[in-house]
Point group: C2
Chain length 94, copies 2
């Protein structure tokens, strides 16, 4: 990976984590294997479009992957990627 590309991705990751909702979402995912939109929407008092926007930002940063099960969507944290860009994040942030 080119150095400038690494920087660009790092900045996208920092931007993703610089919003309170998204930071908290990632922390929630540190504990469990995966979480659904239903649970995220329960945790944050935001509209569905707003939540959808946050899923997208985290996915575009490469931190989340999604899986669809019927009408429901579930998200997983890419812990390897997190570790590559933010080693020890899981320990430091819960």
């Amino acid at each position: 990976m080119a150095s400038s590309e690494f920087s660009a991705q790092a900045i996208r990751i920092f931007k993703a984590l610089s919003d309170p909702t998204r930071y908290q979402m990632v922390r929630m995912l540190l504990n469990c294997n995966e979480l659904g939109c239903v649970e995220f929407e329960k945790a944050f008092e935001l509209s569905k479009p707003a939540m959808s926007h946050h899923y997208r930002v985290l996915e575009n940063a490469g931190l989340l992957s999604s899986r669809k099960e019927g009408a429901y969507v579930y998200f997983r944290l890419d812990k390897e990627r997190l570790e590559r860009f933010l080693p020890g994040f899981d320990q430091a942030h819960l």
Copy 2:
């Protein structure tokens, strides 16, 4: 430190690092002990007020401390704080 306070500070740090100029500034400071405004202004093609704004954001995040020597200002990176919130940042990001 209360948990919510840690989160608030973490988010301020992520926000500080989510701007390309500030991310690069911090990386520059990983290598050397301290750097002056003169050098930062040489590295980025931004106005003095814009640079001043970035110094402030990084200071408010607690990442930078400043020292005045005559008319010149120099900045240092708080590596302990960086390590507390982003362990291994120095290794991963140069």
